[in-house]
């Protein structure tokens, strides 16, 4: 360490050398007090020695003397020595950085902060690129923060982050900035640091600090509605066990790195800088690890919050995964599981899988019956069903709520919403019951006026206009000045109109329009005014009103256009002379032609109807060819347009015109229509108008009863590529093929589901998909599809078949009572007379049999073969079913006689089932004891009591 010294007096040299050696040894051993004392002695006792006063001696000893002084807390002396060194040896390069760094430390220890900062800066300036410069910068920054020089400190840290390469120091600078920004409540700045830094989490030593800062910030962001950023924050937080492992590993790595560095780097090469840095770092890490080990496991709380952030950031699937995982974790407390389970329901609702959400909600009730959140879960689920238009399910859930929690705070709202959903279902009686119950139980509730309004409207739905009007008039003063005032005013006007009290309706609607010109029903009110004027016979006034309705009024504009047309026809019909009539008919054509030609309408419906009226007008004017041409033109324009849904109705309208033009009977008209369609098909095929071709084939299909097989669908499958078939066509083909050719049907079904998920024809998809599920034995899934069908399309041509299938899925899944209820509803439908009734009775028999009630099953089947002989295949099935039922009941004689009667029917005897019946009859005959059939007292099948419809 030291160079040689000139010889002096023997005694003095040896003494000086001894003291010097003692000082060296003490310094190396870390005995700074002894070292300091030795160096002091040298500077005092031996100060006159020529060696001591030599420059080379001083330049060597002074830094060490100062260092020893600093480390044995003789800070002022250390400062004195370091300052002297800097003054006397400004040109020195090898020791000055060491001196400056320790001088800065010394200043810092006597709280001469500004001097300390300046000295660190001088140190850094010597060589800004060395790693120790970053250490010094961090020290300087620490002091800046202590003295309130915050902006300067942040800027400095940002520079370190920007200029340092990836590593411990860079991350430390950023972490320090983050911690300080949090301490100083500089939220935006802290957020910027947190979310826009490259944290190198796989290497950073103080991961726990970042993790907890991120956790805290995540909670704040969640609370303030910044859900996306909250997710980012939670992503910076490893779970508890992972964090402990990582910290342990980092601590080990840091200690190892420190040890290797300490041995390799000399004192003047920055060794003691790193010593200080790592010593402090390791101490912090050990404290953090200790704290972590003593802390509770925060992971469940983290994931609950994380899931919540996902949910609110519109990422419900991620939320589902987290919440389900927590809800199923038996290691968590019941409280935590229940909280997770509740949120799992919310996630399922947001994902939109209603049936799953319902089951999860029910599961919540079963697992945590005492949880205060059970009613909330049901309420949420009910409202979710309602939002999705699943009104029957919403009612079911609300009913469950009211049965179990009718004292809950949400009970009033639930009761109200159930009534509301009954409204959506067109069930005015049930709706009114709920609203009346609400009014009686909660007269002061904020929804009580709404409830009164809806109660009044329930009478309107039943066409009991007088009672509706009375209720509305009673309500009007109660809602004065409130939100419902204009609504009630409008409803009064419309009720008067419905009662045909046009004068009262007129004054009411004019009062409404004058008083509430900005109300949401203004367009409706103007249309109503037009209708009222029509009712009063003021046709010109009415027409003027209708022609002023804006195209932006949607379906109201369309309605108004057709009302105006109606007026023109009425006036033309009442015209005094031919000229006037002709003029009016021209106006009529022009009116509807303008409508058809408009391209600026957001909604243009009833196209075929408009065409019909144009055609009708031509017929009235005697222009038959023109009448037909209108439809030719329309079919030319729309026939092959895959997005147009009007083609079947255009053909229907054409048929009606032809009916007027031709003076022939129905059979002849149908034959001519079929012939015309076949011609159109040929032309379409030649012209590659294959969408039109498919539509024409499907129209022919619709002219044939469903039970009569045709080849039309197979023609389409062969001739028309699937991508040329519109939504309705896809649906009809899928529905038509699914029972016998499911694999082919699935292609059409999948295309309908994928390409037209929002089509009005998606009910066909529900039907076809349900058939596929049933064929696979997945009756729960099938039922779900059929339930959607029934909810969305109660008037669909397949509705009755769907009800039968729906009942079957209920039977298959053991819901016998519900199946029976559905089938009995079907029996009450007049539109289901004939074959559907017969099938419903058969299904009732099967259902009772499945429920283990054979004796109840028997009369249903008997009714079918006694009453519905006109359907031999259904009657045959009924006979067969009945015979088997009797056999299982042990009554072999009646079983035999049933089959005997069955086979005596010549129409049934030709069916394939007859062979099975024949075999069974023979077997029964062999099994019967001798003479059993001859007994006079035997009841025949025909004498058994029948169920009444």
């Amino acid at each position: 360490m030291f160079g040689g010294f000139p010889a002096s007096a023997q005694e003095n040299i040896s003494t000086l050398q001894e003291v010097l050696a003692r000082g060296q040894a003490a310094l190396a051993a870390g005995d700074y007090a002894t070292a300091f004392k030795a160096f002091e002695t040298i500077q005092t006792t031996f100060s006159r020695e020529p060696e001591v006063s030599q420059r080379v001696f001083q330049i060597t000893i002074m830094p060490l003397h100062g260092y020893a002084a600093l480390l044995c807390e003789e800070t002022n002396r250390a400062i004195q020595l370091f300052e002297k060194f800097v003054d006397e040896f400004p040109e020195d390069r090898s020791r000055v950085s060491f001196v400056l760094f320790n001088l800065a430390r010394a200043y810092s220890e006597i709280s001469a902060v500004d001097k300390a900062i300046d000295t660190y800066k001088r140190f850094i300036a010597l060589d800004p690129n060395r790693a120790e410069a970053a250490l010094a910068t961090l020290e300087a920054v620490r002091l800046m923060f202590e003295t309130g020089r915050d902006d300067e400190a942040f800027t400095t840290l940002d520079n370190v982050y920007a200029n340092q390469r990836e590593g411990v120091l860079r991350t430390k600078a950023r972490l320090m900035a983050l911690q300080k920004a949090l301490d100083l409540s500089r939220s935006d700045q802290a957020r910027e640091y947190m979310l826009n830094s490259d944290w190198s989490v796989d290497q950073m030593p103080e991961l726990a600090v970042l993790a907890f800062a991120a956790l805290e910030m995540g909670h704040q962001l969640l609370a303030s509605g910044d859900y996306v950023d909250a997710v980012e924050c939670y992503r910076l937080v490893p779970p508890y066990a992972q964090l402990i492992n990582a910290q342990e590993r980092r601590l080990y790595e840091t200690k190892t790195r420190f040890e290797s560095r300490r041995q390799n780097v000399g004192l003047y090469q920055g060794g003691q800088f790193w010593t200080q840095f790592y010593t402090r770092l390791i101490a912090r890490m050990e404290a953090q690890l200790k704290g972590l080990r003593e802390a509770d496991d925060y992971s469940p709380a983290l994931y609950l919050a994380f899931g919540q952030a996902y949910l609110l950031a519109e990422r419900p699937r991620e939320a589902w995964i987290l919440f389900e995982h927590l809800a199923r974790d038996p290691e968590l407390s019941k409280q935590q599981q229940s909280e997770a389970h509740y949120r799992w329901i919310l996630a399922a609702i947001e994902v939109g899988v209603w049936e799953d959400a319902y089951r999860i909600a029910k599961g919540f009730g079963r697992r945590f019956p005492d949880s205060p959140l059970v009613p909330n879960a049901l309420y949420l689920l009910g409202t979710a069903y309602q939002e999705a238009g699943e009104y029957p399910d919403a009612i079911k859930v609300f009913t469950t709520f009211l049965e179990n929690h009718d004292q809950h705070d949400l009970a009033p709202r639930t009761l109200f919403l159930r009534g509301f959903n009954h409204n959506f279902m067109n069930q005015p009686v049930e709706a009114r019951a709920d609203f009346e119950s609400f009014i009686a139980r909660y007269p002061r509730h904020q929804l009580s006026k709404e409830a009164r309004l809806w109660r009044a409207l329930s009478f309107f739905a039943e066409r009991d206009y007088a009672t509706a009007l009375e209720a509305l008039k009673l309500l009007a003063p109660m809602v004065k000045g409130g939100r419902l005032e204009p609504e009630v005013a409008y409803r009064i006007a419309s009720t008067c109109y419905a009662m045909r009290d046009y004068e009262l309706a007129l004054s009411s609607i004019n009062a409404y329009l004058n008083k509430y010109p900005q109300h949401t029903r203004t367009d409706e009110a103007r249309v109503l005014l037009g209708d009222i004027e029509m009712g009063r016979g003021e046709l010109a006034t009415a027409r003027a009103i209708f022609t002023q309705i804006s195209p932006n009024a949607g379906h109201l504009f369309v309605y108004s256009a057709f009302q105006a047309g109606k007026i023109l026809r009425a006036v033309a019909g009442a015209a005094e002379n031919k000229v006037a009539r002709e003029r009016l008919l021209s106006s009529h054509i022009e009116h509807f032609q303008n409508y058809l030609d408009r391209e600026d309408l957001p909604l243009k419906g009833r196209i075929s109807e408009a065409l019909y009226w144009v055609g009708w007008t031509h017929v009235e004017r005697g222009d038959e060819d023109l009448a037909r041409k209108i439809f030719e033109q329309a079919l030319s324009l729309y026939g092959d347009d895959i997005d147009s849904g009007d083609v079947p109705t255009i053909i229907d309208a054409y048929v009606r015109i032809e009916k007027r033009l031709l003076g022939v009977g129905k059979k002849e008209r149908e034959a001519r229509l079929k012939s015309w369609i076949e011609e159109e098909k040929a032309k379409a095929q030649q012209a590659d108008r294959l969408t039109y071709l498919a539509r024409l084939s499907l129209y022919l299909q619709s002219m044939v009863p469903p039970e009569n097989p045709t080849n039309y669908i197979f023609e389409i499958v062969e001739q028309v590529p699937i991508e040329r078939i519109d939504a309705e066509g896809l649906g009809k083909i899928a529905a038509g093929l699914v029972e016998k050719y499911p694999r082919v049907a699935e292609d059409y079904l999948t295309r309908l589901e994928d390409e037209y998920p929002d089509s009005i024809h998606r009910s066909y998809a529900y039907y076809a998909r349900a058939q596929l599920f049933s064929q696979a034995g997945e009756y729960e899934e099938a039922r779900w599809q059929l339930a959607r069908f029934r909810g969305e399309s109660p008037m669909h041509p397949l509705a009755i078949k769907v009800s039968l299938d729906y009942a079957n899925t209920l039977t298959q899944t053991g819901e016998y009572d519900e199946a029976q209820s559905v089938l009995e509803d079907l029996l009450r439908l007049r539109t289901a007379k004939g074959r559907p009734h017969a099938n419903a009775l058969l299904a009732l028999s099967r259902n009772a049999e499945a429920a283990g009630e054979l004796k109840r099953a028997v009369p249903y089947a008997q009714r079918v073969y006694n009453v519905y002989r006109g359907y031999p295949e259904i009657a045959a099935e009924a006979y067969w079913m009945s015979a088997q039922q009797f056999e299982r009941l042990g009554d072999l004689v009646i079983a035999y006689k049933t089959l005997d009667e069955m086979l005596s029917n010549p129409k049934i005897a030709k069916l394939p089932i007859a062979a099975m019946a024949e075999t069974k009859r023979s077997a029964l005959f062999d099994a019967l004891p001798e003479g059993a059939l001859d007994e006079a007292a035997i009841e025949t099948a025909a004498n058994n009591p029948e169920v009444s419809e």
């Binding site: 992972q242 991620e318 799953d356 079963r366 779900w784």
Partner: protein
Amino acid sequence: MLTALLLAATQVSAQLSPTLSEIRATLQEPVTIVLEGGNQQTGQITSWDESLLRIEVSLGGGTAELTFPAEDIRSIRFPGAEYKRTLYEWKNDPERAEDALALYRAYYQQQGAYLSLLSQRELSLFIDYADFALAQNEPLKAVATIDIISPYIEDEAVLKQLKENLLLGFFQGGMREEAEVEARKWIKEAEPAGFSALGWRLLAEINFEQEEYENAFWTAMHPIAFSNQMTMLHLDVCYALAILAAEELRLKEEPLQLAAEMRDRGLAWPDYVVMLNGKAPEYLTAENTEAETTAKTTIIEQKPLQSPSPIDPIESLPTRIYN
């Protein structure tokens, strides 16, 4: 002149490097048994049944057979250890990969029957073999090796890694059923935010291959949902599968959201996975991929419902995490 010198150097080098057959010959030389007392015996092993080892030693002008119980044997030294350096060189030379595999195999043939006598350090040779076989697209070799050495490995971390490689081996070897079973077992034991998403990745790949897109989606999403900024192996593959499955399910916002997140997290499209090669969607690299939120999301197809169990209600509830 220079060319000649270089050629000469190559020839000399070639002469110095042993051939496989030379190494094999060395590996068949006698072994040395080191007993607990420190004594050693060198000879050819004649039999070993996990409890008794018999070796034939040279004695005088003839031979003798010595028998040692397993508990008396401290260690066993096999000839040819010096060629491990050669193995290392061949491993790192793409041109010699086949030879490296052959040499590993030779060592395995030499020592495979005596694994219970090897130290953990000595067993690491075969762990390396399995890793290398997997990397060289020889998954069945890897599976076989891992299966055999696993019972002898004591280090939990090493065992964990072996299980991962076993799973990968099943999958890459086309043993889908085994891979699926093992993946499900792996998932049951895995930490959802752990260092690896392998089980979910492979199960999702299997689901995707079978066109079970909904299962693939939810399975791939599991580690994504739980992941944090710590490295998670195979997360990139999970993102890619989730994106493609979401597209198949016609979800409108999710593919864009996941792609943006994948990009922001610095994960590249895993073209190294055969099934995903070249299938990165365009929007993954395009900026400004914020999805419009006005459109309604298509409702995804539902998993078949399970019937409720009266014993444990939670088991019967609809799941997206146990596919």
